[in-house]
């Protein structure tokens, strides 16, 4: 079973390859979109590469849930994620730092849930149970 460091190394290499970034940019706290410049097609590429790198299947939406910021009043009101929305995010993204989003729940901040740390935690859970 790979250690967290080993998982991070693979994630780091994956992101270097997929996004054309340098290894020193891929820190645990780096956000995929804001810091590393990932676009929607990149998430698919990253997923494919992780599946290959770890020889696992990652069901669609499990690592990178889609359509999170939907225009639904139970999820978002006045540009902010509601309490119910925060609860939904905790359920959908148990490895993301939803607490941090809850401090400033602007819809635009949802993208910051997608961090290197979130990926490493997800994979650690997936690979090591």
């Amino acid at each position: 079973m790979p250690t967290q460091d080993e998982i991070f190394k693979v994630v780091q290499e994956t992101l270097e390859d997929a996004l054309g970034v340098d290894d020193d940019e891929v820190t645990m706290d780096a956000t995929l979109q804001g810091d590393l410049g990932a676009e929607s097609i990149d998430f698919l590429d990253i997923l494919f590469r992780l599946e290959k790198g770890f020889d696992i299947k990652i069901p669609r939406g499990e690592l990178f849930p889609e359509n999170l910021a939907r225009a639904d009043s139970s999820f978002v009101q006045d540009g902010k994620v509601t309490e119910s929305g925060i609860a939904q995010l905790r359920e959908k993204m148990p490895h993301a730092d939803v607490d941090k989003l809850a401090e400033n729940p602007a819809v635009a901040n949802i993208a910051d849930l997608f961090t290197v740390r979130m990926m490493v935690n997800f994979l650690n859970h997936k690979l090591n149970g």
Binding site: E39, S40, I41, D45
Partner: protein, 249 residues
């Protein structure tokens, strides 16, 4: 040779335009797998004729099936380990006025012409994204723009392909994958035989170059789009119609 060592998959490759593309690709040095549905004899003849000059094999598959498409793509990957070019060419016509068109005639045209494009293209996304390169060429038709009576199903399928082509080009451009469509005019194939027999003279009058196209005219455009000469062209629908759609008087 412009496609030396490239691996291509062509749907609807046993007849008409598809056959022309298979022949042209092999001539240009590509390794070609083509998909056919029912024309086994024709497919066997093509394989036997072209094998002397290159690598080619035929896959029987129903392009309407996502599972069959994935299987065909997997077969090519197993054999040649990559796919550089996908030509979504398979297509049928079931012309008739909409007022009386059977649901089966509508659905079979949409399934064969449009849904097959989804089936095969999605199946090559993964290898092409990993390769950081790919060429997707979709066979549209001038019918998508012309408003021919009796072709609501066919025109809808081809119009769908045009939109698909532009959207996908935007999605995968940064992975160095180009996506283009060719919109042929009247080409001398089995598909247009009935219309040609009924009105060839009238049709020629509407074409600026005063002749029908040949499968080779489309194949040469496909070779161009697949080659490095077209590396900066994406999201385009290229009309290859001898001037049929100029619309002047």
């Amino acid at each position: 040779m412009r496609l030396e060592g490239q691996v291509a998959l062509v749907t609807g490759g046993s007849r008409g335009i598809g056959k022309g593309i298979v022949e042209a690709f092999v001539k240009e040095g590509a390794k070609v797998a083509f998909v056919y549905n029912s024309s086994k004899e024709a497919a066997d003849v093509i394989v036997s004729e072209l094998s002397a000059n290159g690598e080619v094999f035929a896959i029987q598959a129903d392009v309407k099936s996502k599972e069959a498409a994935q299987k065909a793509v997997d077969e090519v990957l197993e054999k040649w380990e990559r796919i550089d070019i996908l030509v979504n060419n398979a297509g049928i016509i079931r012309d008739g006025l909409l007022a009386t068109m059977d649901e089966d005639d509508w659905c079979s045209v949409i399934d064969t012409n449009l849904n097959s494009v989804y089936n095969f293209t999605q199946s090559v996304m993964r290898p092409m994204m990993s390769q950081r390169s790919g060429r997707i060429i979709n066979m549209s038709s001038v019918a998508s723009e012309m408003g021919n009576q009796g072709q609501t199903n066919y025109a809808a399928s081809k119009g769908g392909i045009n939109g698909f082509t532009k959207c996908l080009a935007a999605e995968v451009g940064r992975r160095n994958i180009t996506v283009n469509a060719i919109a042929p005019g009247f080409i001398e194939t089995d598909m247009t035989e009935a219309v040609r027999n009924a009105a060839e003279g009238e049709i020629k009058k509407a074409i600026a170059l005063r002749r029908l196209g040949k499968p080779e005219d489309i194949a040469s455009t496909a070779v161009f789009l697949a080659s490095s000469d077209a590396s900066y062209i994406t999201g385009q629908v290229i009309e290859v119609d001898g001037g049929l759609t100029l619309g002047g008087i």
